[in-house]
Amino acid sequence: MSFDPSFMWTAFLSLFKALPTTLFITIISVAAGLVIGTIVALARLYRIPVLSQLASAYVTFVRGTPMLMHLLLIYFGLPIIIDGIAGLVGSSFTSASIPLLAFACIAFSITAGAYMSEVVRAGILAVDKGQIEAAHAVGMTTPQALRRIVFPQALAVSLPNLSNSVIGMLHGSTLAYTISVIEINAQAQIVAADNWKYFEAYLAAALLFWGLTVLIERMSGWLEYRLNRFQRGGAA
């Protein structure tokens, strides 16, 4: 069997069909992860009783277990819970009507939330305490101070870490193939098996992921440049 570069083009075209699924999973899990991560980080930073202990347990469990396990636990566990509740309230809803994609999004949001909470926490801790004191001193409430003063500065310092998280979730999204979601990796497998050309198909998939990763890095670099304008010093 020899390398067939021309097949890579065929593979590419076929992979593009799965691109939206990969992007969808990545974007949803990153967005939800950011929300979960922020709530978790704040609960821990402000030592909110009960919530902060729950948050710590969540973070250590998720970070202490493989991402694949989160997916499998949700995939097999969530239907039990949902069907159980539906049975209790006498609803006719069954977990069978939930699209597979939803399981992947939920599981990966949980994964992303734990990892991103650490990123958000580090970002908030990097903001000088004097900033929030000054915000309070001009009369802002804590939520106002967080929104207007702390988060923008925390975001500027955490961009490199955030972009790593996004890349991690992009690459991790390939695991969705294990529950039969057709993302890029699963599509590569399909096109490879149909034509018995595995190396070319996976190489095409790898190049596609590489391209996406470079794109994310570029965007993050550009954003970082823009958001950090304020600390560059020098003349205006």
Binding site: G130, A134, A137, V138, G139, F230, Q231, G233, A236
Partner: protein, 250 residues
Amino acid sequence: MIQLEGIRKSFGKQQVLGGINLTVQKGEVVVILGPSGSGKTTLLRCINYLERPDQGVIQIGNQKLEGKHPGRSEIHRLRQRTAMVFQQYNLFKHKTALENVMEGLTIVRGVPRDTAAEIGIEMLEKVGLGDRLHYYPSQLSGGQQQRVGIARALALNPEVILFDEPTSALDPELVGEVLEVIRRIAEEGITMIIVTHEMGFARDVASRVVFMDGGAIIEQGTPDDIFQRPREERTRQFLRRITPEANYSI
């Protein structure tokens, strides 16, 4: 009018304020002196509840707060009556000079943006920074940053401005420009409580000088009372230590 009654504060086992009573009339400029660790900063921070006193009553205007557990909204209202100028300036780093001054007006007071911008420009001009409106803090000298800090406080038109060693972090050659600005606004009749180690300035600007040591007010009076005729030995010791010129002239 500001009235503090029996303010106590401890950090762990260490008592930092041991029952402070202090009344400041409208338009007064009260300068607080005292050795390092005597509780000056802590007292100032209790006034706007950046630090919660363990005990005591703080009254500003017609609002009274008591002890450790006032509600969040009460603290929020109290803070709107005060403004603070910090030793480390604490300008909002991601905002320009003008945005720093406008922030409290638009976000807290609900002033429309264009009105807030007018006020902001006026205040920055007042502190001599009319040509630096759109500079970020990182693009300003320490003295300029602190003057923005003062403009930010002034813009809120508070019942009292609290200054915590506003010039201590500055290079010596920049101290003068900041003190000059404070001196000028003091003449406008704005109530101020100033912690400083600048004795000449204290003497000039103060309508009353308060000397603190060990978390207590040891004595207070006019600048002349304190600097020329201190009654307490501890005050004399302190003044001897920080005005070395007096020693040389012997």
